[in-house]
Amino acid sequence: MKFEIVELSELSGSKATIYSIFMDDDNETLFENFMVENLREFPDEINSIVETLNQISTKFGARRHFFKENEGKLGDLVCALYDSPNSNLRLYCIRFGTTVILLGGGGHKLKSIRALQESEKLKSENYILREVSELIFKKMKEKQIYWINEYELGGDLILETDE
C-alpha cells in the first residue's frame, strides 16, 4: 500500500497545518472520502467538523483537549477529533503537538458499540492511521521525514508498506 501526505490548503492556517493522505491511486484524500461518505446523511456534523478544523488552524491551534487521545497504539499519536456522546461521526487523525494534524478517515459511530473493533468501518480507518503513524515515525528515525519548521513536515512524504 502507498500513502502520500499532502497539505489541505483550504483548511491550513497560521495556527496549524492540516494534512491528509492519498491512499494508493485514490483521487481523494482519506478526509475527503470521509466527507463524501457522510455528507448526505450528516450534513450538519460535517459542517461542524470542517468549521472546528478551521478554527483550530486559524485561531486556537490543535490543543490537546479538542481531541480524544489514545485511539491507536501506545504513543503513536492516533486520536480522534472530540465527538460529543450524541454525535454520529468519528474522525481519526494524528496530532503532532498543537501545530500539525494529519487527517484520516472515520465513519458512523453507532450508539450500540463501545469499542472501535465492533465497527468494521471504524476499525479499518483507525488501523490505516496506525500504519501511517508507524511509517512516519520510522522515516523520522531515518531522517527521511523531518520538521521544516514547527508548522511543516518535509522530506519523503510518500510512504509504502512492504505488502
Binding site: L8, S20, F22, T52
Partner: protein, 119 residues
Amino acid sequence: MNRARKHTGVLISSIKEGIPEKTKENISKRMGRAAQIDDALRKRGFTNQEFAYMMGKKPSEISRWLSGTHNFTTETLWEIERVLNIQILTSSKPYEVHETDLKAYIVCEIEKAFEKYSK
C-alpha cells in the same frame, strides 16, 4: 527541502463556503470558552482530575467541557468562575486576582471539597 504537495479540494471549499455564520460563531464561542478554562487550569497548576474533584464532577465530564463541543449552563459557568477565579461571562464583574490570596483560596476550596465528598 521537500515540502508536502498542496492539495486543493473542491468539496472542502464548497462546504466551508456553505457553513452558516451562526454555526461558525457558535463553534468559535464554544472552543474559545474551552480554551479559556483550560488556560486557567494550566495557569493555576490544576490537573483535570483536581478540577473535577473541586467541581464535584467526574473527570470525563471535565474532558467534555474542554472539548469545545459543550454547551454550558449559566450556573455551571458561574461555578467555574468562582472555583478558578476567572471571568468567563461578560456580565460577570471582572475578578481582581490577588496572588497572595490565591493560594489561601485554593487551599480553602480543596478543604471544602474534601470535607463534602469524604462523607
